[in-house]
């Protein structure tokens, strides 16, 4: 496996929050989703990965290098979109492009303006007059205009309308197909679950799950069944279980192991199986915690 990012045992403390021993590995050319409820530590983790915030302990190795020795080179190869992008409010996107161009080794001015056009962001409008979504798109345009091999995007779809969100997801998929690596964080799955190939769930500053999305989809299933059609012992194996008047339902984190036990009920139409969404899985972890 060609690893682009390797974070080991990252620890960071704020007054009311701590990132506690987070480790993460990201494959080249993959789209990795970091999900979790508000305050789980997603933004802090991404800030640390993008060298926006110092850590108390732990190590980040990106593209075979570390920020300690190669910050400038790494930041040329990493595009970061913060949760709330910051710009000089009295300046335009054009001014910002002129400002950043000398710093990036591979700044693509034409590409930047083309992206702004696609995103329908007026390059001559002062940033303070742009909407939150447009600022996000401006930040994305910058991150995508210097040939970054790794994109670290904090809630990239937040504040975007459905058209731009869809266009962004398609673009991210295309970038990954071209060999770029994408890490996205979000507190809602909001379409990102469709494109994420690897999934990391954070809760309360810890990684509670790190797995391939396909593997999750294979293992995590909802089982709906009539009361009495399944052995009571099986109910204890559900991650989430609810007894309801018109049929029970349980969320299993290991359906292949349960398949045989459920088969008779499935055959007699007393049970049916449905795929679980990332949101369902995330919620089960949050409830468990």
């Amino acid at each position: 496996m060609d690893t682009v990012l390797e974070a080991t045992d990252l620890t960071k403390d704020y007054e009311d929050f701590s990132l506690r021993g987070v480790s993460l590995t990201v494959r080249r050319g993959s789209i990795s989703g970091v999900f979790g409820p508000n305050g789980a530590g997603k933004t802090t983790l991404l800030k640390v990965l993008a060298a926006q915030a110092p850590v108390r302990s732990g190590k980040v190795r990106l593209l075979g290098q570390t920020y300690e020795t190669s910050e400038r080179d790494l930041k040329n190869r990493v595009g970061y979109v913060p949760q709330e992008p910051t710009f000089y409010p009295d300046k335009t996107a054009t001014w910002h492009a002129r400002f950043v161009a000398p710093y990036f080794a591979r700044w693509d001015g034409a590409g930047f303006y083309s992206l702004l056009e696609t995103f329908r962001v007026n390059p001559l409008k002062k940033v303070k007059h742009l909407s939150g979504g447009q600022k996000k798109l401006l930040s994305l345009a910058m991150a995508l205009s210097h040939g970054a091999e790794l994109l670290i995007l904090d809630e990239p779809t937040a504040g975007l309308d459905v058209v731009h969100r869809r266009s962004l997801l398609d673009r991210l998929r295309a970038l990954a197909a071209d060999g770029s690596t994408v890490i996205v964080a979000s507190h809602i799955t909001d379409g990102l679950d469709e494109i994420a190939e690897d999934v990391t769930f954070l809760h309360d500053g810890r990684v509670v799950l790190h797995a391939a999305a396909d593997d999750l989809m294979t293992r995590w299933k909802w089982v709906h069944y009539k009361d009495g059609s399944l052995d009571r012992a099986i109910e204890g194996r559900f991650a989430t279980f609810r007894r309801q008047p018109f049929g029970n339902r349980g969320l299993t984190d290991d359906f292949p192991a349960l398949r045989e036990a459920v088969a008779p009920a499935l055959a007699s139409d007393d049970a049916r199986v449905e795929p679980a969404s990332l949101e369902d899985i995330l919620l089960s972890f949050v409830k468990e915690a």
Binding site: E71, K75, Y80, T86, D90, R98, P102, Y103
Partner: protein, 215 residues
């Protein structure tokens, strides 16, 4: 030209031009008290320029660029040093020029250097304070400092004018003594100030890299 330097220098140049335009010209036309008082306003102007520049600075944006904190610190410190150096050079030149007609004396040259060295180090400390604590915390601190600096300068001016026994800072014993060899003294003061400034710059790199308050 470095874009950060270009953007920030606007505020420093404006502060320098207004300082020299409003006050510096008195050194050319007034008596010795101009050399006593005008340099005292230098730290106030420097910090005002810094405040204007830092108020609009977007360090979170800069941190996303391929730019180490060390480079940002060096740029900001270069601005402070350039401001003080320009003011020092012009005031020293005018003082040297006016020694001819007896308005400025050798201790005046030392005094100007001492005030500029103090302004340089105070400016550096405030800049580091902004990185460590952020503008919202430092804004009132700097505001009070500027107001206090102005008030002290005004009190000094008033006392100098109306009280014969009030000491002129440019004529205290140490300054007079250093004025015995003004160019040597000035060179030593400049060297010491630059040495301390360099140490503060290194400290500033560590502070800025470890802090998120200014982002």
């Amino acid at each position: 030209m470095d874009p950060i330097l270009r953007r920030s220098s606007f505020f420093y140049v404006t502060a320098l031009v207004t300082y020299l335009g409003l006050m510096g010209r008195f050194m050319l036309t007034r008596d010795w008290t101009a050399f006593e008082l005008i340099p005292l306003f230098l730290p106030v102007w420097l910090i005002s320029g810094m405040l204007a520049s830092e108020h609009d600075e977007r360090y979170a944006f800069l941190r996303t660029l391929p730019l180490a904190d060390r480079a940002v610190v060096r740029t900001k410190f270069t601005l402070i040093l350039s401001f003080v150096s320009a003011a020092w050079l012009l005031m020293t030149a005018v003082a040297a020029f006016r020694t001819g007609d007896g308005v400025a004396t050798p201790p005046t040259l030392v005094y100007v250097t001492l005030v500029c060295a103090t302004a340089l180090l105070v400016g550096a400390l405030y800049q580091i304070g902004i990185w460590r604590f952020g503008i919202p915390v430092m804004f009132p601190v700097i505001g009070v400092s500027v107001a206090a600096g102005l008030a002290l300068a005004v009190i000094h001016v008033a006392n100098l004018k109306y009280r014969d026994e009030w000491p002129a800072l440019s004529q205290v014993g140490l300054v007079e003594w250093l004025g015995g060899a003004p160019w040597v003294s000035s060179a030593v003061i400049v060297a010491l100030a630059l040495w301390a400034y360099r140490a503060l710059m290194r400290f500033g790199v560590r502070v800025k890299a470890a802090s998120e308050a200014h982002l």
